[in-house]
Symmetry: C2
Subunit: 465 residues, 2 copies
């Protein structure tokens, strides 16, 4: 098949692959097959014949279709009703179309000139996000490759805000980020990457469920200042990855306002609650924060990656990134050359996935998806209340719930391993208050109340074996 | 169209979109349409009706197809014979299939368990790259989101190597990176991000074409040490973004070896020369470097992003990233959980694009693509030698060549603007020795000798207007 070029075969190949993928998703949605494969990496590599394909090539179209099917079967099935593992979107059609469009055009909106349509789309999606956050008038955003990079980008802006010389002269040794231990580990990673060190994260006091205790903020700030340290930012969760619980943003924002502190909210998962009038109260106060991130590849149904990193004020970005590439960017083109505000140089136009979702499904469809999935966690919590053998330490605020099958005590991870081996369900785990919990993240649109009932039944059964 | 889910329509929609895209690429390959659109962002936004789609939704299938066509027409056409702007791949079928597969399955190989097939594929592609570099026995790599992130990842490993406390305790103030001014700006960005500051890059002496002068290395090191600074790494270009010229890697590697310095080679574009027995001499000595990056979305024909970040020794990674997420990663699973060595938490299985290219087209097809495109730049140089009105300051080593239409003197950027306005060609520009040059990056498989001849003719014509 060598030396054939795109148009000679992409129509035939693409159509056949699409057909194979649809068949796979149809079967997965009906609950067939293992939710995740438990085979080891060498077995998987052999089944996929990776060594042969790398070394010899020569794959024919039927072999490609067979590869696609095997690959799909070995993959985690996010459309499976029993998939409750991590916050990964079960893709929807508009995002798939966007990925296909980018796969063929490969436009890179580093500067507007290089990818006019892509840059216009990314700008439109940022504005949509900014409007929902409440920063439509003054703010600026970019679409970046994931929440980890988004958190780093926001904290780099905060670093530049705390010390305008840091970008040119290096990170001073007296900077510190204040964050609860329940922050996503990308916050500690960002601190380490940007030169504060993991030890440069000062742990904020939390309640028993890991939410920031607003009463602990003043003593923390006093302590930091007494040590001669300068705070870069306070980081809050909206919501926390592990528990799905929202920090009291309004109270934290009020404290940050009063003390001139940068507030960054990690909304990678939970910012999607902004789409629902019923749920957006969870994020009250966010409009007073300084920066936030919002992932498309979690609650907006896109493939990975697609993250909005959003700033309340355009001017926050004046002292980072852009001055380092003056030969590429035009200062007068702010808000037009997306590369001025992204870590990346080359970058896919990731916003296209959200744009087509809004266009083709409508924002109302995302709202109802978020409300449905958040509601499912509450249903799981209700089912657990009815059964004395299960406990959950809190009523969920999102579509994430930690819980425990009590007869297993602290052997919840062993129980989880058995459940995965069984193949019908996939759960993650989380350590809360020093003890292990099972963790359900309800992402699949095919999961329903009956699935949740089955989950508790199957857990009971595999625990008894 | 709201409330319909993936399988209900992805077959029909996907097939129709694929058809529209093929028609677009067919027309572009034949040289029709503008290479890039010169319309401004507000005009483009209106043509795409972005405001309507974001606010109202309601897009029908015919409207989606119309959007796809308009979007493609406004995009830069990398398959157009006249596209010679930047090193962005004109996608090929296998990469498109890989993007489609990921778009639907959305598997995220953070840890092996979450995406077994994807993790196995990424590992196989890293090993293929490591084998070509010469680090197959001892090395380790990861596939990451782009060269900028790849360079940062490699330099973070170098920072940890230079100071094992940096990850935990912060970046010390005495670290410095040695790099030529011709390094990609992501190297200065990495220095600024990781806490050394842009000023923490010490400029290495170069020849008139911006290549590292090996004789300047010893004085630079002596100067750095005399200032009480500790070198983190020497960065070399293989090849330089602006000129496409390769630094003398072997001599630089010898110096680094002898002085215990970490050598990082930025091979984002030029590492692809490793695939050709005829060209791989350009990278002689690379096997003695410590780290490199290699982009798939440049010379390996994949869509953005897809970058291998490769390390000569697995142990280099022991003091960064992984220890910060012990609750996620298993120390015994090194080489299996890709997230241990990537900046990202969530990440697409980007290696799949390279794997399917190797499988379906064969490595030989990539080799002949690289050789063909590198050869084209030499052909352009030869054409320029025949014409007294054009000059090129060097014979190209890759598929990138800077040149000048002499009658325009230092008004080359004005000439470039006219050329873009004309619509038949798209060139970038570069400042070399303080003077502006036109810059051709020959990426399109449809560009041939006749296209290059036409380019010089059209330049002459638009300059005369």
């Amino acid at each position: 098949m060598s030396h054939v070029d795109l148009v000679d075969d992409v129509r035939e190949v693409g159509t056949a692959v699409l057909e194979a993928l649809v068949a796979h998703v149809e079967s997965v949605r009906a609950g067939s097959g293992e939710v995740v494969s438990a085979a080891d990496i060498d077995t998987v590599s052999k089944r996929l014949e990776l060594r042969r394909w790398v070394e010899e090539g020569g794959m024919t179209l039927p072999e490609l279709l067979s590869f696609v099917t095997t690959y799909s079967d070995i993959s985690a099935s996010h459309h499976h009703p029993g998939y409750m593992g991590h916050q990964i979107a079960p893709s929807d059609t508009p995002g798939v179309v966007a990925d296909l469009l980018q796969a063929v055009t490969n436009n890179i909106p580093l500067v507007y000139e290089l990818a006019p349509a892509a840059a216009a789309v990314d700008r439109a999606v940022c504005r949509w996000m900014l409007d929902h956050v409440g920063w439509g008038e003054t703010g600026l955003g970019a679409i970046t490759n994931g929440g980890t990079l988004g958190n780093l980008t926001a904290l780099l802006a905060a670093r530049s805000h705390a010390d305008t010389t840091a970008w040119q002269r290096g990170t001073p040794g007296d900077l510190v980020i204040l964050a609860p231990a329940t922050s996503h580990y990308s916050v500690r990673k960002a601190a380490a990457v940007m030169g504060l060190g993991v030890n440069g994260v000062y742990p904020l006091r939390t309640d028993a469920l890991g939410r920031i205790d607003p009463a602990g903020l003043a003593p923390a700030l006093a302590d930091v200042r007494a040590q001669g340290l300068r705070p870069v930012a306070v980081v809050a969760n909206g919501c926390a990855t592990g528990t799905g619980l929202y920090d009291p943003i309004a109270e934290v924002a009020q404290f940050c306002d009063a003390n001139g502190l940068w507030l960054h909210m990690d909304g990678a998962h939970g910012a999607a609650a902004l789409l629902s009038p019923r749920l957006r109260g969870l994020l009250a106060g966010l409009e007073r924060a300084d920066s936030t991130v919002w992932d498309g590849h979690k609650m907006l149904r896109t493939s990975a990656l697609c993250t909005g990193v959003l700033f309340r004020e355009k001017r926050y970005l004046d002292t980072m990134f852009k001055q380092d590439a003056s030969y590429l960017y035009r200062p007068e083109a702010e808000d037009v050359d997306p590369g001025q505000y992204t870590f990346e140089t080359s970058k896919a136009p990731l916003g296209l996935k959200v744009l087509l979702t809004l266009a083709y499904r409508g924002e109302a469809s995302l709202r109802s998806y978020v409300e449905r999935q958040y509601g499912l966690a509450t249903e799981l919590w209700e089912l657990i209340q009815e059964r004395p053998d299960f406990t959950a330490p809190y009523q969920p605020q999102s579509n994430i719930l930690c819980f425990r099958y009590e007869p297993c005590g602290d052997r919840q991870l062993e129980l989880r391993a058995r459940l995965i081996q069984d193949g019908r369900f996939y759960l993650s785990s989380f350590r809360l208050g020093g003890r292990p919990y099972l963790r359900a993240s309800l992402m699949s649109p095919t999961t329903d109340r009956e699935t949740l009932h089955q989950l508790l039944e199957v857990i009971t059964k595999v625990a008894a074996v």
